[in-house]
């Protein structure tokens, strides 16, 4: 669904947060166009060896489920209750205090009560109670329990693919109940009977076989990077090298493939190339591990592990010392909280040390993977980069904390430190909308597809309105972020809600400000905008 077909922003913003009269258990789900994602194509499930590949769509009456689907789901629940304390605990201890209710961007943007995290969890809890607790078995609905029916399954599908696993609710929950965890379990269960979406499964299948979500083949990656090198030469007069699959390099660099493919991520990618060239980093790209992102996280824990395994395998094959990771949100959730546990120990690598500053990244000494914002902040702190922030003077920048680096890591100061060094005009959005309270772009966790446009715009509504606030107050025209999904989805969000604001990665701004040895005088930014300093000088001369 394109933006043109959407209702006007002022109409979409007429949101009523009051719940309807009818109780939620009696309100069946309605698959309204624009609010759900297409089903996964069977070929993608076949590549991955996943159950029940078939042609179907969520709006169909018959979902072509296996005959024994309720048993599969209930057995799956039983397995997961015994394997994940989080799941069991979160099923049991919610008191429905409602603190999470208005913390979800999808609820704020849609007013649909089942998007209150507490109710989204109750969709699953009600079934848990019915089959796994004594009170639920005996008292049924009186105990908040209900049977597992096809309608319930459809409701799960609709709402677990209307949660971006952003974890904002868990910040406010007095017991730390994390809807992301519940959504992940819900999606795992749905996957057991083949109910999944193509915007997730196609990238996963691509990543598994070809190495990255977009399915860019090895020569395509080389072409892209060389194309960026040409652009950099054009802008700066400096030719950067593009090392690919090079054995014996000190560092393997892994970033989301979105940065190789689509604007504005490509400009961020140019920023990486320029930075690495300028500091003379001994590093390599990989075509096999050419994806930092991991849409397996949005399917199940096993698939996440299968995709993630490539990063360590490739680091081992290329005999690098440690790994550097680019700007991405959910990628960093996987790298920070899961990779070492799933695919470690990385005993074949060395503890990361910055070759320029000698800084030991002790916070990454087991996983051996460092975030580029940590790396660059350290470089700037040690005066290893010559920066001219006035080259970003045409920009008034605000910073969107991406959900996962914020709430599954706590990466707040590193990007801000860099931003303040590379641009002169930086403004924070309101406190309730940044750092650990940051709002999702509305398209994370695999939901950033066009057929889901209405829901994306609704989910992104609180974020967009916070940007609008700083646009009106300070004239902000650039929204910086450290996430590839953000770079893809926020752009659309801005076009719709806050025209005049464009999206940028952090290292695009670094690239603009970076003074390179042997460069020519810069006239335009990486994305080709005339530099303000330059125009001012011209004006003066005239």
């Amino acid at each position: 669904m394109s933006l043109a077909k959407m209702p006007k922003p002022e109409d979409l913003a007429k949101i009523d947060l009051q719940p309807p009269r009818q109780g939620w258990m009696d309100t069946p789900v309605e698959f309204r166009p624009g609010t759900w994602c297409y089903s996964a194509a069977p070929k993608n499930l076949k590549i991955l060896g996943l159950p029940n590949p078939r042609e179907w769509q969520p709006a169909d009456v018959d979902w072509k489920l296996p005959a024994n689907w309720p048993e599969i789901i209930l057995q799956g629940m039983k397995d997961r209750l015994s394997r994940f304390r989080s799941f069991k605990l979160f099923m049991d201890i919610c008191v429905r205090c409602g603190a999470c209710a208005d913390k979800c961007h999808f609820f704020i943007g849609s007013g649909d009560p089942k998007n209150m995290p507490v109710l989204r969890a109750e969709l699953l809890r009600s079934v848990y109670r019915r089959y796994f607790t004594t009170t639920g078995k005996l008292l049924g609905r009186l105990a908040g329990a209900r049977d597992l029916t096809v309608d319930v399954l459809k409701e799960w599908f609709y709402y677990f693919y209307q949660c971006t696993e952003c974890r904002r609710c868990s910040v406010f929950c007095p017991y730390g109940i994390d809807q992301a965890e519940i959504t992940m379990m819900g999606r795992e269960l749905l996957n057991l009977v083949g109910c999944n979406i193509n915007w997730i499964m196609e990238p996963v299948a691509n990543c598994y076989r070809v190495g990255n979500h977009l399915g860019i083949q090895p020569h395509g990656i080389k072409d892209s990077l060389e194309f960026f090198a040409d652009d950099i030469a054009d802008r700066t007069g400096v030719r950067v090298e593009v090392p690919i699959n090079r054995k014996g390099a000190e560092i393997l660099f892994v970033t989301p493939s979105g940065d190789l493919f689509a604007d504005p991520g490509t400009f961020t990618c140019m920023g990486y190339l320029m930075l690495f060239h300028e500091i003379g980093l001994d590093y390599t790209w990989s075509t096999y591990a050419s994806e930092g992102g991991n849409f397996g996280l949005f399917v199940d824990h096993e698939l996440m592990k299968r995709l993630n395994a490539k990063i360590y395998a490739e680091a081992k094959r290329l005999r690098v010392k440690w790994i550097l990771g680019g700007e991405c949100g959910h990628m960093w959730r996987v790298l920070h909280q899961y990779m070492d546990t799933m695919n470690g120990p990385a005993d074949f690598l060395e503890e990361p040390v910055s070759p320029l500053t000698g800084t030991k990244f002790e916070n990454a000494k087991s996983t051996k993977m460092v975030h580029i914002a940590e790396f660059t902040a350290d470089l700037i702190r040690h005066n290893k980069l010559k920066l001219d922030p006035s080259r970003n003077d045409h920009l008034k920048v605000t910073f969107h904390d991406s959900c996962n680096p914020a709430r599954a890591m706590g990466l707040f100061e590193e990007p801000r430190y860099i931003l303040k060094k590379v641009c002169n005009y930086f403004y924070e959005m309101p406190e309730e909308t940044i750092r650990e309270k940051t709002f999702c772009c509305g398209g994370g966790a695999g939901l950033g597809t066009d057929e889901n446009m209405e829901m994306r715009l609704r989910g992104g509504f609180p974020r967009a309105k916070a940007v609008k606030y700083v646009r009106e107050k300070y004239g902000v025209n650039r929204l910086a972020c450290i996430c590839a999904i953000d770079r893809a989805t926020l752009q659309t969000l801005m076009e719709y809600w806050v025209p005049g604001v464009e999206v940028t990665g952090l290292h695009e701004l670094v690239g603009n400000a970076l003074v390179m040895k042997g460069e020519k005088e810069r006239e335009v930014s990486l994305r080709g905008e005339p530099l303000l300093t330059k125009t001012k000088v011209d004006h003066h001369e005239r």
Partner: protein
Amino acid sequence: MIISLLFILILLAIPLIAGGWGNLFFLLGIILPYLAFFLFLIGFVYRVWQWAKSPVPFRIPTSCGQQKSLPWIKASFFDNPYNTLGVIGRMFLEIVLFRSLFRNNKVEIREGRPIFAGAKWLWLAGLILHWSFLLIVLRHMRFFLEPVPQVINLISFADGFFEIGVPTLYLTDLLFISAVTYLFLRRVFIAQVRYISLPADYFPLLLILSIALSGILMRHFYKVDLAKVKNLILSLIVFRPEIPPGIGLIFYVHLFLVCGLLVYFPMSKLMHMGGVFLSPTRNLANNSRRRRHINPWNYPVKVHTYAEYENEFREKMKAAGIPVEKE
């Protein structure tokens, strides 16, 4: 809500009938308390054991502050703990002061944009409810311990500091009743909260409210012989149960409701009392890159190896000048 109210009325009727007409004090004063306490203990331990049985495969703390990375960036010790001490601090703040709930705010849509307003009432009422509950329970220890420890007397003294009425009105009683009433009315009148509420949400509030009211009635209106009450309780503790004759019926109502709470506790959401300690988004240090977290059920998975990858793309790689393993 109606159902919960009905349930409470039934619960109230049982001791009134059993005690008032049936003279079943042996049942109300001895058998039920033993049974209830036993069920509470077994139930509570069983539930916690059930949770503890499931492992924590991944380290998934929710980070609510700056991580510990570079030495010159100040890390948030409590909101994003990086060591055990920080976790203890975080859990302390969470359990004693309800840190996360304190963050609460309220969203309204006005003129097409979300407006964030403060919303500390839930936090305040929750905090008052839990703290006064704790103090009330501690105060009751004077019926369980002989001699009564100084600290218990001190709590009672401080609680009755204002010396309003005879016997002194306890401050915690007032606070408790107000907090429970607020939390109940909130469920009834705030549409969103009403929408998510189950009978299991109204019932415990009404139950503890009834317990508190029956206790207050007993203390200030239908007075009972507290020496006899203490004799009964001490006799239960030493397993030589004996019912002193002539304790007022209101005491048995109070006791019965407490027994009801004890039995209900382990099978209800009230188990959040035990569960909050186990929550993996709160009780783990955010150090998963610094130290490897072990998943006890980690199993090998099918992967697409580099060799398989190169086999598919070797010619294209060679043509593009990308190094390969096998020429």
